[in-house]
Symmetry: C2
Subunit: 335 residues, 2 copies
DNA sequence: CTGTTAGCGCGTTCAG
DNA sequence: CTGAACGCGCTAACAG
């Protein structure tokens, strides 16, 4: 309603002076005028027009948060996504940036967002959109990828030590006496994250002479879609005694299915999850899981992005966050 | 990079013509020029500057999505919030609006967002921020409140039939032979939603001569904080045989706690949740719940908002969405 | 059908 | 310390 110009008129000063007060250049304005102007701003409830500001500055404080999904998919139904996005939003606001959340599969949409809004930075998550490379703008805007294992020139990375995650799970299960172990993936074999976790699992199991047959790799968390497959695997006499799941979400689902098939968890089937979401303590039995901290990951990601926004000469960075096992009640010691 | 002006220059036409092509006023431009300009736009990857557009139009296609929470709270850890916000985002994009998600407890922040971005509409959720009334701008911008039971002049509402929800749960439990019933709230007694659900529960139970004593009303889903209280309630000889919970989330938590206390669900304690989130089918036993559809709710909300944006003369509306019982395995028939 | 002209609200020189 | 003037990229009358 009221504009900078009106404030200036009311205060009897120029627009520049008001602008300086708003932007904290208080050294360039006399004490009393600062006071006067600030009072006026408060009284009239003046709020700077962000569009005008962005236009004049040829830039914004928007940070695009890109999630991968189709137009009519609600990716926040997945609790890990929800937790991570929520944390990103929170940390961006803390640093005074404004999240522009977008869920898409189309790299051109991303490009339009970046250019159209003059975005200050880009955050991309868990993505296997390989044609991200086609987004030429991406090389010119500070970008941090999370859980992405393909290279994007100029982009920084915050990853998780997924391989160690798989290893931890494998060693734990083997240590508990399990010799027949299956794996539930998120999006096998498309997801690099899954691939790493499975790799870690297999490598840690090799010394024990344990194999994870392909038949025991369930490709996605959509267990209903793989019900027949699961029935076969769990019904066989030489069935796995344990499963490592690439998400708590799917671990919970697996436990459900197992119970429906008449298997008790952990007595008949042990399960290890991944993520350590609140969900773990809500289900029965409480879920033993490979823990990561979504909040810290988001904080690191935002921090890295902000540093690169503030100093555009910084070279790309790469951080890997650790994981640890959180032992609860879903794994039984065998033999 | 390239601007409308440059496209105009390259095409040898005026800026107006290019603008018309961009905005789909194709009737005002000759066929061949349209083609020429569209080609040019594609070739040079031209993307309109949204800040400039918003400035010139004195408005934007931003819709503020306001969630209630403190600065360092991740409200998406709550699966219902996550599901609903995700659905809102999805439906806004479908209608070509851009979500501006904000989590705050401070009404001035909301005011700044609305004014600063020239927001087209506002969506506010589950809020008991009573000083929303202080946001003068809100009466001038189309606003839809969800799950808010206080009045905001000019604002529209999309609500859930919470009272019936409580009633359904009560009738079901009573019908299953339960006579001692407790309630787990979300934020009792601050949340009007809780109040309605509890009211419905009590009213449906009254004909059976059943009371829900205050001592059996657990104020929030943070069950750990109420552990002693719960221990007392569940440990008493005349303990409740069933609980109605104001969220699936807390129902899951209650089941966990009950199991820890040595009670089997549903044999020793029956539980009814609220929301019907994916979570219901993940826990053991699968949760019987009062179902609402977050996706449809979001669609209705967005639809109502968009209608009010497009026709500012529309009077405030009020819709109430229904609920239904989804029966699973967490309630046992008594006697 | 097309071009010219004014702003939109603000930041940023540059003189004073 | 202050102000006038220009421009950011685009839309919207208004002429032609």
């Amino acid at each position: 309603m009221s504009s900078l110009k009106e404030i200036a008129a009311a205060a009897g000063v120029s627009m520049t002076t008001v602008s300086n007060v708003i932007n904290g250049n208080l050294k360039r304005v006399s004490r009393d005028k600062v006071q006067l102007i600030q009072d006026l701003i408060r009284e009239r409830g003046y709020v700077p027009n962000q569009a005008a500001r962005n236009l004049a500055q040829r830039g914004s404080r928007f940070v695009a948060i890109i999630g991968q999904g189709s137009d009519d998919e609600n990716i926040f139904l997945n609790p890990y996504n929800a937790a991570y996005f929520g944390a990103l939003v929170k940390h961006l606001y803390k640093r005074d940036y404004v999240p522009l959340v977008r869920v898409t599969n189309d790299y051109r949409t991303i490009e339009r967002d970046i250019r159209g809004w003059n975005v200050a930075g880009v955050l991309i998550t868990g993505s296997f959109i390989r044609n991200l490379q086609k987004i030429t703008t991406l090389s010119q805007v500070p970008t941090v990828l999370t859980d992405c294992y393909f290279d994007l020139p100029g982009a920084s990375h915050v990853d998780l030590d997924d391989e160690t995650g798989g290893r931890i799970a494998g060693e734990y299960l083997a240590g508990m006496g399990h010799r027949r172990i299956g794996f539930v993936a998120n999006a096998y074999p498309d997801s690099d994250v899954d691939l790493r976790r499975l790799k870690g699992l297999r490598e840690s199991l090799a010394p024990y002479g344990i194999q994870v047959p392909e038949a025991w790799v369930i490709p996605s968390w959509d267990l209903e879609a793989h019900r027949d497959r699961l029935a076969a695997v769990l019904g066989a006499p030489e069935r796995p005694t344990a499963f490592f799941c690439s998400a708590d979400f799917s671990a919970a689902g697996l436990i459900r299915v197992a119970v429906e098939f008449g298997l008790r968890v952990p007595e008949d089937l042990s399960v290890v999850g991944f993520d350590n979401l609140p969900l773990c303590s809500l289900i029965s039995p409480r879920l033993t899981t490979v823990a990561q901290d979504a909040d810290i990951k988001a904080e690191r990601t935002v921090d890295m992005l902000v540093r690169h926004i503030e100093d555009r000469t910084l070279p790309p960075e790469r951080t890997m966050l650790g994981v640890r096992l959180v032992e609860r009640d879903s794994v039984k010691r065998l033999g």
